[in-house]
Symmetry: C2
Subunit: 251 residues, 2 copies
Protein backbone atom coordinates (compact mmCIF):
# COMPACT_ATOMS: atom_id res chain seq x y z
CA UNK A 1 0.00 0.00 0.00
CA UNK A 2 1.38 3.39 -1.01
CA UNK A 3 0.09 6.31 1.04
CA UNK A 4 -0.30 9.41 -1.11
CA UNK A 5 -0.96 13.04 -0.22
CA UNK A 6 -2.17 15.46 -2.86
CA UNK A 7 -1.31 19.13 -2.47
CA UNK A 8 -3.56 21.12 -4.77
CA UNK A 9 -7.17 20.93 -5.92
CA UNK A 10 -7.03 21.81 -9.64
CA UNK A 11 -7.50 19.67 -12.75
CA UNK A 12 -4.38 17.54 -12.39
CA UNK A 13 -5.05 16.98 -8.66
CA UNK A 14 -8.66 15.97 -9.41
CA UNK A 15 -7.83 13.52 -12.20
CA UNK A 16 -4.98 11.89 -10.26
CA UNK A 17 -7.22 11.62 -7.19
CA UNK A 18 -9.95 9.83 -9.17
CA UNK A 19 -7.43 7.41 -10.64
CA UNK A 20 -5.84 6.67 -7.24
CA UNK A 21 -9.25 6.01 -5.66
CA UNK A 22 -9.79 3.15 -8.10
CA UNK A 23 -6.60 1.37 -7.03
CA UNK A 24 -6.50 -0.92 -4.02
CA UNK A 25 -2.75 -0.48 -3.74
CA UNK A 26 -2.99 3.24 -3.10
CA UNK A 27 -4.45 5.13 -0.18
CA UNK A 28 -4.97 8.86 -0.55
CA UNK A 29 -4.44 9.98 3.03
CA UNK A 30 -5.22 13.66 2.46
CA UNK A 31 -5.87 16.40 -0.05
CA UNK A 32 -4.59 19.83 0.93
CA UNK A 33 -5.59 23.11 -0.69
CA UNK A 34 -6.28 26.73 0.13
CA UNK A 35 -9.44 26.93 -1.92
CA UNK A 36 -12.11 25.54 0.44
CA UNK A 37 -14.70 25.52 -2.34
CA UNK A 38 -12.47 23.31 -4.52
CA UNK A 39 -11.55 21.20 -1.49
CA UNK A 40 -15.18 20.32 -0.90
CA UNK A 41 -15.19 18.18 -4.06
CA UNK A 42 -12.77 15.79 -2.33
CA UNK A 43 -14.41 15.69 1.10
CA UNK A 44 -16.10 12.50 2.24
CA UNK A 45 -13.64 10.51 0.15
CA UNK A 46 -10.47 11.38 2.06
CA UNK A 47 -9.21 13.77 4.73
CA UNK A 48 -9.24 17.33 3.38
CA UNK A 49 -7.51 20.29 4.94
CA UNK A 50 -6.70 23.86 4.07
CA UNK A 51 -3.96 24.28 6.65
CA UNK A 52 -0.66 23.31 5.03
CA UNK A 53 1.14 23.33 8.38
CA UNK A 54 -1.02 20.47 9.59
CA UNK A 55 -0.01 17.86 7.02
CA UNK A 56 0.22 14.17 8.03
CA UNK A 57 2.94 11.73 7.03
CA UNK A 58 2.65 9.85 3.75
CA UNK A 59 4.91 7.94 1.35
CA UNK A 60 4.50 10.34 -1.57
CA UNK A 61 3.47 14.00 -1.60
CA UNK A 62 2.21 15.12 -4.98
CA UNK A 63 2.34 18.88 -5.50
CA UNK A 64 -0.21 19.59 -8.23
CA UNK A 65 -0.31 23.38 -8.32
CA UNK A 66 0.55 26.16 -10.78
CA UNK A 67 4.22 26.25 -11.82
CA UNK A 68 4.99 29.49 -10.07
CA UNK A 69 3.85 28.33 -6.62
CA UNK A 70 5.48 24.88 -6.62
CA UNK A 71 8.50 26.06 -4.63
CA UNK A 72 6.33 27.91 -2.12
CA UNK A 73 4.08 24.89 -1.51
CA UNK A 74 7.11 22.60 -1.25
CA UNK A 75 8.29 24.59 1.77
CA UNK A 76 5.46 23.06 3.79
CA UNK A 77 6.81 19.56 3.17
CA UNK A 78 10.59 20.02 2.95
CA UNK A 79 11.05 18.80 6.54
CA UNK A 80 9.13 15.60 5.83
CA UNK A 81 10.54 12.08 5.33
CA UNK A 82 8.25 11.19 2.40
CA UNK A 83 9.03 11.61 -1.29
CA UNK A 84 7.93 15.02 -2.67
CA UNK A 85 7.12 15.33 -6.38
CA UNK A 86 5.61 17.99 -8.62
CA UNK A 87 3.48 17.37 -11.73
CA UNK A 88 4.78 20.08 -14.05
CA UNK A 89 6.11 19.59 -17.56
CA UNK A 90 8.35 22.61 -17.56
CA UNK A 91 9.70 22.96 -14.01
CA UNK A 92 13.04 21.33 -13.23
CA UNK A 93 13.37 18.63 -10.59
CA UNK A 94 15.86 21.00 -8.91
CA UNK A 95 12.99 23.26 -7.83
CA UNK A 96 12.36 20.70 -5.05
CA UNK A 97 15.99 20.26 -3.99
CA UNK A 98 15.32 21.67 -0.52
CA UNK A 99 13.28 18.52 0.22
CA UNK A 100 14.86 15.37 1.65
CA UNK A 101 13.64 13.22 -1.22
CA UNK A 102 12.20 14.66 -4.40
CA UNK A 103 11.16 13.92 -7.94
CA UNK A 104 8.67 14.56 -10.74
CA UNK A 105 5.39 12.82 -11.63
CA UNK A 106 4.25 14.46 -14.89
CA UNK A 107 1.08 13.18 -16.59
CA UNK A 108 1.27 14.31 -20.22
CA UNK A 109 -2.33 15.21 -20.94
CA UNK A 110 -4.53 18.28 -21.21
CA UNK A 111 -7.02 17.86 -18.37
CA UNK A 112 -10.34 19.66 -18.17
CA UNK A 113 -12.28 19.55 -14.95
CA UNK A 114 -15.57 18.26 -16.27
CA UNK A 115 -14.31 15.82 -18.80
CA UNK A 116 -13.37 12.25 -17.91
CA UNK A 117 -9.98 10.98 -19.04
CA UNK A 118 -8.92 7.35 -19.24
CA UNK A 119 -5.82 7.62 -17.07
CA UNK A 120 -4.57 4.18 -18.18
CA UNK A 121 -3.72 5.68 -21.58
CA UNK A 122 -2.12 8.86 -20.20
CA UNK A 123 1.71 8.81 -20.38
CA UNK A 124 3.28 9.48 -16.99
CA UNK A 125 6.84 10.81 -17.06
CA UNK A 126 8.91 10.06 -13.98
CA UNK A 127 12.11 11.38 -12.50
CA UNK A 128 13.56 11.13 -8.99
CA UNK A 129 16.73 12.41 -7.40
CA UNK A 130 17.48 8.99 -5.86
CA UNK A 131 17.20 5.81 -7.81
CA UNK A 132 15.05 3.84 -5.26
CA UNK A 133 12.55 6.69 -5.40
CA UNK A 134 12.27 6.26 -9.15
CA UNK A 135 11.22 2.67 -8.49
CA UNK A 136 8.63 3.86 -5.97
CA UNK A 137 7.22 6.34 -8.50
CA UNK A 138 7.22 3.61 -11.10
CA UNK A 139 5.11 1.38 -8.85
CA UNK A 140 2.75 4.26 -8.15
CA UNK A 141 2.43 5.25 -11.82
CA UNK A 142 1.87 1.73 -13.15
CA UNK A 143 -1.09 1.24 -10.82
CA UNK A 144 -2.95 3.99 -12.69
CA UNK A 145 -1.38 4.08 -16.18
CA UNK A 146 -0.12 1.62 -18.81
CA UNK A 147 2.30 4.19 -20.23
CA UNK A 148 5.07 5.02 -17.82
CA UNK A 149 8.30 6.66 -19.00
CA UNK A 150 11.47 7.74 -17.25
CA UNK A 151 12.26 11.21 -18.53
CA UNK A 152 14.86 13.59 -17.08
CA UNK A 153 14.20 17.31 -16.59
CA UNK A 154 15.86 18.45 -19.83
CA UNK A 155 13.95 16.01 -21.98
CA UNK A 156 10.73 16.66 -20.06
CA UNK A 157 11.00 20.37 -20.89
CA UNK A 158 11.46 19.44 -24.54
CA UNK A 159 8.43 17.18 -24.33
CA UNK A 160 6.40 20.03 -22.86
CA UNK A 161 7.48 22.20 -25.77
CA UNK A 162 6.41 19.52 -28.27
CA UNK A 163 3.09 19.30 -26.41
CA UNK A 164 2.51 23.03 -26.91
CA UNK A 165 2.74 22.47 -30.68
CA UNK A 166 0.45 19.42 -30.86
CA UNK A 167 -2.02 20.58 -28.20
CA UNK A 168 -2.19 24.39 -27.79
CA UNK A 169 -1.34 25.34 -31.37
CA UNK A 170 -3.46 22.56 -32.86
CA UNK A 171 -6.38 23.67 -30.72
CA UNK A 172 -5.89 27.20 -32.03
CA UNK A 173 -6.09 25.89 -35.62
CA UNK A 174 -9.37 24.21 -34.66
CA UNK A 175 -10.55 27.59 -33.41
CA UNK A 176 -9.58 29.27 -36.70
CA UNK A 177 -11.31 26.53 -38.72
CA UNK A 178 -14.50 26.89 -36.70
CA UNK A 179 -14.31 30.68 -36.89
CA UNK A 180 -14.10 30.53 -40.69
CA UNK A 181 -17.13 28.22 -40.73
CA UNK A 182 -19.16 30.45 -38.40
CA UNK A 183 -18.44 33.54 -40.45
CA UNK A 184 -19.76 31.76 -43.53
CA UNK A 185 -22.85 30.19 -41.97
CA UNK A 186 -21.44 26.70 -42.14
CA UNK A 187 -22.19 24.40 -39.18
CA UNK A 188 -18.97 24.04 -37.15
CA UNK A 189 -19.57 20.33 -36.48
CA UNK A 190 -19.01 19.70 -40.19
CA UNK A 191 -15.23 19.77 -39.51
CA UNK A 192 -15.43 17.29 -36.63
CA UNK A 193 -14.97 13.99 -38.55
CA UNK A 194 -11.99 15.42 -40.43
CA UNK A 195 -10.38 16.59 -37.19
CA UNK A 196 -10.93 13.20 -35.59
CA UNK A 197 -9.52 11.31 -38.58
CA UNK A 198 -6.47 13.60 -38.86
CA UNK A 199 -5.55 12.66 -35.28
CA UNK A 200 -6.52 8.97 -35.62
CA UNK A 201 -4.43 8.52 -38.75
CA UNK A 202 -1.25 9.00 -36.72
CA UNK A 203 -1.75 5.54 -35.24
CA UNK A 204 -1.09 4.13 -38.69
CA UNK A 205 0.95 6.76 -40.55
CA UNK A 206 3.75 9.17 -39.76
CA UNK A 207 2.56 12.77 -40.15
CA UNK A 208 5.22 13.20 -42.83
CA UNK A 209 3.50 10.51 -44.93
CA UNK A 210 -0.06 11.51 -44.03
CA UNK A 211 0.27 15.07 -45.32
CA UNK A 212 -1.96 16.16 -48.21
CA UNK A 213 -3.24 19.49 -49.56
CA UNK A 214 -2.10 22.42 -51.67
CA UNK A 215 1.13 23.21 -49.76
CA UNK A 216 2.34 19.62 -50.01
CA UNK A 217 1.49 19.47 -53.73
CA UNK A 218 3.04 22.87 -54.38
CA UNK A 219 -0.32 23.95 -55.79
CA UNK A 220 0.26 27.72 -55.78
CA UNK A 221 -2.96 28.49 -57.62
CA UNK A 222 -5.04 27.10 -54.75
CA UNK A 223 -2.76 28.71 -52.14
CA UNK A 224 -3.19 32.13 -53.77
CA UNK A 225 -6.94 31.68 -53.96
CA UNK A 226 -7.08 30.72 -50.27
CA UNK A 227 -5.06 33.78 -49.31
CA UNK A 228 -7.51 35.94 -51.24
CA UNK A 229 -10.44 34.33 -49.41
CA UNK A 230 -8.97 35.07 -45.98
CA UNK A 231 -10.05 38.43 -44.64
CA UNK A 232 -8.03 38.42 -41.39
CA UNK A 233 -4.40 39.47 -41.94
CA UNK A 234 -3.48 37.35 -38.91
CA UNK A 235 -4.99 34.19 -40.42
CA UNK A 236 -3.33 35.05 -43.76
CA UNK A 237 0.06 35.20 -42.04
CA UNK A 238 -0.52 31.86 -40.33
CA UNK A 239 -1.64 30.35 -43.64
CA UNK A 240 1.45 31.65 -45.45
CA UNK A 241 3.91 30.59 -42.77
CA UNK A 242 2.49 27.08 -42.35
CA UNK A 243 2.30 26.58 -46.13
CA UNK A 244 5.88 27.77 -46.57
CA UNK A 245 7.05 25.40 -43.85
CA UNK A 246 5.19 22.45 -45.40
CA UNK A 247 6.46 23.39 -48.87
CA UNK A 248 10.06 23.46 -47.63
CA UNK A 249 9.69 20.03 -46.06
CA UNK A 250 8.63 18.30 -49.27
CA UNK A 251 10.89 20.04 -51.79
Amino acid sequence: MIRVSILGTGNVATHLFRAFLKSEEIEVVQVVGRNSEALRAFSGQTRTLSDFSNIREADVFIIAVKDDVIVKVSEYVNHIKGLVVHTSGSVSIAALSACHRYGVFYPLQSFSKDSAVDMRSVPICLEAHDSPDTDLLDTLATTISDKVYRVDSTRRKTLHLAAVFVNNFTNHLYHIGQHICEQNELPTEILQPLIRETAAKLERLKPYDAQTGPARRGDNKTIDRHLEQLKSSEFKEIYEMMSASIGKLYR
Copy 2:
Protein backbone atom coordinates in the same frame (compact mmCIF):
# COMPACT_ATOMS: atom_id res chain seq x y z
CA MET B 1 -31.68 1.55 -57.84
CA ILE B 2 -29.25 4.33 -58.75
CA ARG B 3 -26.70 3.39 -61.41
CA VAL B 4 -23.37 5.06 -60.72
CA SER B 5 -20.23 5.40 -62.85
CA ILE B 6 -16.94 6.37 -61.27
CA LEU B 7 -14.38 8.21 -63.36
CA GLY B 8 -11.05 8.00 -61.59
CA THR B 9 -9.15 5.40 -59.55
CA GLY B 10 -7.54 7.40 -56.72
CA ASN B 11 -8.32 7.58 -53.00
CA VAL B 12 -11.70 9.30 -53.26
CA ALA B 13 -12.80 6.96 -56.07
CA THR B 14 -11.72 3.92 -54.04
CA HIS B 15 -13.45 4.94 -50.82
CA LEU B 16 -16.69 5.92 -52.59
CA PHE B 17 -16.62 2.66 -54.53
CA ARG B 18 -16.29 0.59 -51.35
CA ALA B 19 -19.16 2.47 -49.72
CA PHE B 20 -21.41 2.12 -52.78
CA LEU B 21 -20.74 -1.64 -52.97
CA LYS B 22 -22.27 -2.06 -49.51
CA SER B 23 -25.55 -0.48 -50.54
CA GLU B 24 -28.29 -2.49 -52.25
CA GLU B 25 -29.80 0.68 -53.67
CA ILE B 26 -26.73 1.51 -55.71
CA GLU B 27 -25.19 -0.29 -58.64
CA VAL B 28 -21.72 0.74 -59.74
CA VAL B 29 -21.95 0.04 -63.47
CA GLN B 30 -18.35 0.92 -64.31
CA VAL B 31 -15.08 2.41 -63.10
CA VAL B 32 -13.09 4.26 -65.73
CA GLY B 33 -9.43 5.24 -65.43
CA ARG B 34 -6.28 5.58 -67.48
CA ASN B 35 -4.06 3.88 -64.93
CA SER B 36 -4.56 0.17 -65.70
CA GLU B 37 -2.61 -0.82 -62.57
CA ALA B 38 -4.97 1.20 -60.35
CA LEU B 39 -7.96 -0.05 -62.35
CA ARG B 40 -7.11 -3.63 -61.53
CA ALA B 41 -8.08 -3.04 -57.87
CA PHE B 42 -11.69 -2.60 -59.02
CA SER B 43 -11.88 -5.47 -61.52
CA GLY B 44 -14.02 -8.48 -60.71
CA GLN B 45 -16.33 -6.22 -58.73
CA THR B 46 -17.63 -4.09 -61.60
CA ARG B 47 -16.92 -3.34 -65.26
CA THR B 48 -13.58 -1.55 -65.57
CA LEU B 49 -12.34 0.28 -68.62
CA SER B 50 -9.52 2.57 -69.58
CA ASP B 51 -11.14 3.90 -72.74
CA PHE B 52 -13.13 7.01 -71.82
CA SER B 53 -14.84 7.10 -75.21
CA ASN B 54 -16.53 3.78 -74.48
CA ILE B 55 -18.53 4.81 -71.42
CA ARG B 56 -22.01 3.31 -70.83
CA GLU B 57 -25.10 5.14 -69.66
CA ALA B 58 -25.66 5.62 -65.92
CA ASP B 59 -27.74 7.86 -63.65
CA VAL B 60 -24.78 9.60 -62.00
CA PHE B 61 -21.20 10.03 -63.23
CA ILE B 62 -18.79 10.81 -60.44
CA ILE B 63 -15.57 12.47 -61.59
CA ALA B 64 -13.03 11.73 -58.84
CA VAL B 65 -9.78 13.01 -60.32
CA LYS B 66 -7.25 15.76 -59.56
CA ASP B 67 -8.68 19.29 -59.67
CA ASP B 68 -6.77 20.33 -62.77
CA VAL B 69 -8.07 17.49 -64.96
CA ILE B 70 -11.76 17.64 -63.96
CA VAL B 71 -12.74 19.74 -66.99
CA LYS B 72 -10.78 17.50 -69.37
CA VAL B 73 -12.39 14.31 -68.03
CA SER B 74 -15.83 15.93 -68.11
CA GLU B 75 -15.51 16.33 -71.88
CA TYR B 76 -15.96 12.58 -72.23
CA VAL B 77 -19.38 12.74 -70.62
CA ASN B 78 -20.76 16.14 -71.61
CA HIS B 79 -22.95 14.60 -74.33
CA ILE B 80 -24.53 12.15 -71.89
CA LYS B 81 -28.02 12.31 -70.32
CA GLY B 82 -26.90 11.35 -66.79
CA LEU B 83 -25.95 13.70 -63.97
CA VAL B 84 -22.22 14.56 -63.90
CA VAL B 85 -20.62 15.59 -60.60
CA HIS B 86 -17.09 16.21 -59.36
CA THR B 87 -15.78 15.52 -55.84
CA SER B 88 -13.53 18.54 -55.29
CA GLY B 89 -13.69 20.98 -52.38
CA SER B 90 -12.22 23.90 -54.24
CA VAL B 91 -13.49 23.64 -57.85
CA SER B 92 -16.67 25.53 -58.72
CA ILE B 93 -19.75 23.74 -59.99
CA ALA B 94 -19.42 25.95 -63.08
CA ALA B 95 -16.42 23.86 -64.22
CA LEU B 96 -18.97 21.28 -65.40
CA SER B 97 -21.36 23.69 -67.09
CA ALA B 98 -20.75 22.14 -70.52
CA CYS B 99 -22.59 19.04 -69.30
CA HIS B 100 -26.38 18.65 -69.66
CA ARG B 101 -26.86 18.09 -65.93
CA TYR B 102 -24.16 18.74 -63.38
CA GLY B 103 -23.33 19.12 -59.72
CA VAL B 104 -20.87 18.45 -56.89
CA PHE B 105 -20.53 15.49 -54.53
CA TYR B 106 -17.77 16.49 -52.08
CA PRO B 107 -16.87 14.13 -49.24
CA LEU B 108 -15.09 16.23 -46.57
CA GLN B 109 -12.41 13.82 -45.40
CA SER B 110 -8.72 13.16 -45.87
CA PHE B 111 -8.61 9.75 -47.48
CA SER B 112 -5.56 7.52 -47.53
CA LYS B 113 -5.55 4.50 -49.78
CA ASP B 114 -4.71 1.85 -47.22
CA SER B 115 -6.70 3.12 -44.32
CA ALA B 116 -10.37 2.28 -43.85
CA VAL B 117 -12.78 5.14 -43.24
CA ASP B 118 -16.27 4.86 -41.83
CA MET B 119 -18.09 6.61 -44.65
CA ARG B 120 -21.29 6.93 -42.59
CA SER B 121 -19.56 9.59 -40.48
CA VAL B 122 -18.02 11.47 -43.43
CA PRO B 123 -19.86 14.74 -44.26
CA ILE B 124 -20.92 14.84 -47.91
CA CYS B 125 -21.51 18.31 -49.36
CA LEU B 126 -23.93 18.46 -52.27
CA GLU B 127 -24.74 20.96 -54.96
CA ALA B 128 -26.56 20.59 -58.29
CA HIS B 129 -27.43 23.01 -61.06
CA ASP B 130 -31.04 21.79 -61.16
CA SER B 131 -33.08 21.26 -58.05
CA PRO B 132 -34.36 17.71 -58.86
CA ASP B 133 -30.73 16.68 -59.28
CA THR B 134 -29.98 17.90 -55.76
CA ASP B 135 -32.65 15.47 -54.57
CA LEU B 136 -31.06 12.66 -56.57
CA LEU B 137 -27.65 13.42 -55.02
CA ASP B 138 -29.28 13.58 -51.62
CA THR B 139 -30.71 10.08 -52.07
CA LEU B 140 -27.34 8.81 -53.27
CA ALA B 141 -25.41 10.46 -50.41
CA THR B 142 -27.73 9.33 -47.62
CA THR B 143 -27.34 5.69 -48.68
CA ILE B 144 -23.66 5.89 -47.70
CA SER B 145 -23.44 8.72 -45.11
CA ASP B 146 -25.43 10.03 -42.14
CA LYS B 147 -24.06 13.55 -42.63
CA VAL B 148 -25.32 15.12 -45.80
CA TYR B 149 -25.18 18.90 -46.32
CA ARG B 150 -26.25 21.17 -49.13
CA VAL B 151 -23.41 23.60 -49.67
CA ASP B 152 -23.04 25.98 -52.62
CA SER B 153 -19.72 26.53 -54.43
CA THR B 154 -18.75 29.70 -52.52
CA ARG B 155 -19.30 28.14 -49.12
CA ARG B 156 -17.71 24.88 -50.22
CA LYS B 157 -14.52 26.75 -51.11
CA THR B 158 -14.58 28.35 -47.67
CA LEU B 159 -15.06 24.94 -46.10
CA HIS B 160 -12.10 23.62 -48.04
CA LEU B 161 -10.03 26.53 -46.71
CA ALA B 162 -11.09 25.74 -43.12
CA ALA B 163 -10.18 22.10 -43.77
CA VAL B 164 -6.64 23.14 -44.74
CA PHE B 165 -6.25 24.71 -41.29
CA VAL B 166 -7.64 21.80 -39.26
CA ASN B 167 -6.17 19.03 -41.40
CA ASN B 168 -3.01 20.05 -43.33
CA PHE B 169 -1.69 22.60 -40.84
CA THR B 170 -2.62 20.48 -37.82
CA ASN B 171 -0.83 17.52 -39.38
CA HIS B 172 2.23 19.73 -39.86
CA LEU B 173 2.16 20.61 -36.15
CA TYR B 174 2.08 16.86 -35.42
CA HIS B 175 5.16 16.55 -37.61
CA ILE B 176 6.94 19.34 -35.72
CA GLY B 177 6.02 17.77 -32.36
CA GLN B 178 7.33 14.37 -33.44
CA HIS B 179 10.45 15.94 -34.93
CA ILE B 180 11.21 17.66 -31.61
CA CYS B 181 10.76 14.32 -29.83
CA GLU B 182 12.98 12.43 -32.27
CA GLN B 183 15.77 14.98 -31.97
CA ASN B 184 15.71 14.52 -28.21
CA GLU B 185 15.47 10.75 -28.09
CA LEU B 186 11.92 10.78 -26.85
CA PRO B 187 9.58 8.10 -28.27
CA THR B 188 7.21 9.82 -30.70
CA GLU B 189 4.21 7.75 -29.57
CA ILE B 190 4.38 9.55 -26.23
CA LEU B 191 2.45 12.46 -27.82
CA GLN B 192 -0.29 10.21 -29.22
CA PRO B 193 -2.76 10.25 -26.29
CA LEU B 194 -2.50 14.05 -26.03
CA ILE B 195 -3.15 14.44 -29.75
CA ARG B 196 -6.15 12.10 -29.57
CA GLU B 197 -7.61 13.89 -26.54
CA THR B 198 -7.09 17.36 -28.06
CA ALA B 199 -9.25 16.29 -31.00
CA ALA B 200 -11.78 14.33 -28.91
CA LYS B 201 -12.34 17.24 -26.54
CA LEU B 202 -13.99 19.21 -29.34
CA GLU B 203 -17.05 16.98 -29.05
CA ARG B 204 -17.65 18.48 -25.61
CA LEU B 205 -15.94 21.89 -25.64
CA LYS B 206 -15.49 24.75 -28.08
CA PRO B 207 -11.78 25.18 -28.93
CA TYR B 208 -12.01 28.68 -27.47
CA ASP B 209 -12.89 27.18 -24.07
CA ALA B 210 -10.57 24.18 -24.36
CA GLN B 211 -7.41 26.24 -24.83
CA THR B 212 -4.67 25.98 -22.19
CA GLY B 213 -0.92 26.62 -22.10
CA PRO B 214 1.54 29.50 -21.78
CA ALA B 215 0.15 31.66 -24.61
CA ARG B 216 -3.37 31.52 -23.23
CA ARG B 217 -2.13 32.32 -19.69
CA GLY B 218 0.14 35.09 -20.96
CA ASP B 219 3.04 33.25 -19.32
CA ASN B 220 5.90 35.06 -21.07
CA LYS B 221 8.59 33.39 -18.95
CA THR B 222 7.66 29.96 -20.33
CA ILE B 223 7.24 31.34 -23.85
CA ASP B 224 10.75 32.86 -23.75
CA ARG B 225 12.22 29.63 -22.43
CA HIS B 226 10.50 27.63 -25.19
CA LEU B 227 11.85 30.00 -27.84
CA GLU B 228 15.34 29.52 -26.44
CA GLN B 229 14.92 25.73 -26.60
CA LEU B 230 13.91 25.78 -30.27
CA LYS B 231 16.90 25.50 -32.58
CA SER B 232 15.08 25.82 -35.90
CA SER B 233 14.36 29.44 -36.82
CA GLU B 234 11.37 28.20 -38.79
CA PHE B 235 9.83 26.48 -35.75
CA LYS B 236 10.63 29.57 -33.66
CA GLU B 237 8.67 31.74 -36.10
CA ILE B 238 5.70 29.35 -36.01
CA TYR B 239 5.84 29.28 -32.21
CA GLU B 240 5.92 33.07 -31.99
CA MET B 241 3.16 33.64 -34.51
CA MET B 242 0.80 31.04 -33.03
CA SER B 243 1.45 32.30 -29.48
CA ALA B 244 0.84 35.91 -30.54
CA SER B 245 -2.41 34.91 -32.23
CA ILE B 246 -3.60 32.98 -29.15
CA GLY B 247 -2.50 35.84 -26.87
CA LYS B 248 -4.50 38.35 -28.91
CA LEU B 249 -7.61 36.17 -28.74
CA TYR B 250 -7.71 36.03 -24.94
CA ARG B 251 -6.68 39.61 -24.11
